[in-house]
């Protein structure tokens, strides 16, 4: 009975989700998917409809736990769709659950290889003797730069520090340890230094239906500057970050949405995110949005595990998934 199952199970699912994110450092959508799968594994539901109900409750709990996170939303929606497809032909609960778990585990395993696929595709886009501009911290970007290095590409990197989390510093550290020529720049210097740059590479937390990017604040202004300077802007994103939402602009993003890094609670280079303000400024109000929306017009291409695509093709892929 869904009611008897009680909150503890839902709480466990939420805890499991957090674990997956922090210890296995899974991306949000995959972690949400895997934790819902785990929920299905443990569920004591007796019928498929009970299981469906229990899973949708669990999704709600996840959404509440990290409110306003579109990457998490993407994972929950994917799972819902996946569940419906898998169980559509199931005769009984056990068969349905067995199929679900088997194929679900496969899906999670495949999802974890998305990054390598992207790295393989994207490395071809990085040319010798070029300068690349990065923003904040993205594991896909690091993976693809590593792959490019392995292929013998020589390039240098500028990293915008991405205030207020300053996660760019972490990127710079990792790249330096790889032996890449890397320099940090303040966000405010992006326009001043854009002439040195040959291409901009970005990760994203979620991709909207029109191909716009939801990512850490500062991305949009970087994209505007890149567009103005006619520099190509590439986004490397895993397809599970595609989310069936269509923001008209900044105002349609969830208010107070945390970045994936913040929600993870272990944001690299996180010194500025603690609201310690210099003396005498305590009474001055701040607005510190965590994410922003980069409209598709500013994005040249998306490099995803489904291939390289124009932003407008995201809608096509979402249709393929959700119908």
């Amino acid at each position: 009975m869904p009611t008897q199952q009680g909150d503890t199970t839902y709480e466990e699912t939420v805890t499991h989700f957090r674990d997956l994110v922090s210890t296995r450092s899974l991306p949000f959508p995959v972690a949400a998917f895997a934790s819902l799968l785990e929920h299905a594994r443990r569920s004591q539901a007796l019928t498929i409809s009970e299981l469906t109900h229990s899973l949708s409750e669990a999704s709600t709990h996840l959404r509440l736990a990290v409110s306003g996170s579109w990457p998490l939303e993407a994972g929950c929606m994917l799972f819902k769709r996946f569940f419906a497809t898998v169980t559509a032909n199931s005769v009984d609960l056990e068969m349905g659950r067995r199929d679900l778990l088997r194929r679900g585990d496969q899906y999670v395993a495949t999802a974890c290889t998305a990054r390598e696929t992207i790295a393989g595709l994207a490395a071809n886009f990085i040319k010798d003797d070029t300068t690349i501009l990065l923003h904040s911290y993205s594991r896909v970007i690091l993976a693809l730069l590593e792959e490019a290095l392995r292929k013998g590409k020589r390039f240098s990197v500028l990293v915008a520090e991405a205030s207020p989390t300053c996660s760019g510093k972490e990127t710079a550290k990792v790249l330096k340890s790889m032996g890449v020529t890397v320099r940090l720049i303040p966000d405010a210097a992006v326009a001043a230094l854009i002439h040195m740059v040959d291409a901009v590479w970005l990760g994203a937390e979620a991709v909207a239906e029109n191909g716009g990017l939801v990512s850490q604040v500062g991305t949009r202004q970087l994209a505007v500057v890149a567009k103005e300077a006619s520099k190509p802007l590439f986004a490397a994103v895993e397809s599970y970050k595609f989310v069936r939402k269509l923001p008209l602009g900044q105002a349609d993003l969830p208010v107070d949405a945390p970045t994936a890094l913040q929600a993870q609670g272990e944001s690299p280079g996180n010194e500025a995110s603690k609201d310690t303000q210099p003396d005498g400024e305590e009474d001055i109000e701040w607005i510190k949005p965590a994410i922003d929306f980069t409209p598709p017009e500013l994005v040249t291409l998306l490099v995803t595990d489904l291939g390289v695509m124009a932003p407008s093709a995201v809608g096509d892929e979402l249709f393929r998934i959700y119908g």
């Binding site: 239906e209 269509l246 008209l248 602009g249 407008s312 809608g315």
Partner: protein
Amino acid sequence: MDGTAVPAVKKSQKDMTKAERKALQDQQRAEKQARRAAVLAERGGGGSPASSGHGKSGAGKTSGTPTIPITPTAPTSTASTSTSYSRNEYWEQASLLSHIEQAKGETHLAGREVHPAILQLGLLYKQRRICGGNARCVAMLTGFKRVIQDYQTPEHSVMPRHLPTHLSPQITFLVSMRPMSVGMGNAIRYVKYEISILPPEWSEDQSKEHLIQRIDDFIRERITLADQEIMEAALDRIIDGDVIAVYGRSSIVERTLLEAHRQGRQFRVIVIDGRPLNEGRWLAKILSDKGIQVLYTEIHGLSYIMEEATKVLFGAHAILGNGAILGRVGMAAVALAAKGRRVPVVVCAETYKMTERVQLDAYVHNEIGPAELLVKQKRDATAQPEAKAPLEGWEERPGLEVLNLMYDVTPVDWVGVLITDVGPVPCSSVPVLLREYRPMTYQ
């Protein structure tokens, strides 16, 4: 009463006595009738009424009118002054719009096979009493239901074969009253498809009943329920504090705004309106009747009013294959102004209005409305009925054309989101929709 009439005209009118004015009117009327009789006489020679009504585009009305010399660029070109064109020839040879058929709207051309319900409907279309994509489509389907009800398969014939030939003249007549919309085209294809798959062994009554049921299904699923879906999705886009600019009048936009108000959302509406139909007045009235704060303005005030708007909400006439939106003329201007100010544009349209046709501008395909609508002083009821508008009698003036285009095309990148009954999508996804839902357009 005279205060509102335009001075130049008023003077000549004022000088006349009432009797004189009446005499003038009568004379004009007689002339018009004579002209029409001439047309009729000419038609009588050339084939059956139905075929001439459909086949010879545009040739009818103007070939009978006296040939008027016209000088497109009068002062510079001496050659053109010596050549005399008929007005129609001018459009055919010199105009960008010569390929667009104009509805002739002549009811006497209706053949005997046109059902009375369709005759009545045709008149309502012509007088723009039934206006708006959904209303026209529902009215047409309702008319078809009547036609089917009263239909009897002739001997030695079967319904799936014969009924379409019976529907064709009805459709031809409706089109001659006013060109049909994309949605109507899709609905007709649907009806014809349903007729074609009728099992031949069914009795006539059973077939009719089934067809009427299927037509009702179309109205319910593709229009009524679709509107419900669209409205619910569109409601998500209206938040407290919004200032929503709308253009003209769209049934779905109206429903959405009323529902948002009913749910207690706090927003203002700017109704931007355009001549000659001025449909927005009704919208403004209906909204303000319900207590919504409305600002009514004409399209001239566009650039000024757009500063206030936070969102723009449109209905649509059709969705074209490349994602562009065909809408009431003026819509593209509003969308452009919105884009200029980065005000997001939301378009609401049912999927039955989708077509695979791609149109890059409004000249490729359009509807030319009656020029009289632009000429007539429709401004207020207080003006003297006989008061002459400045452009009255424009047909007789060489070098003056009046163009009343009905629709224009809003390109893909001026629209933020397209809300359809299959959910909100970016306009760039329309080709995907068309591919995935191809059966829904019966193409």
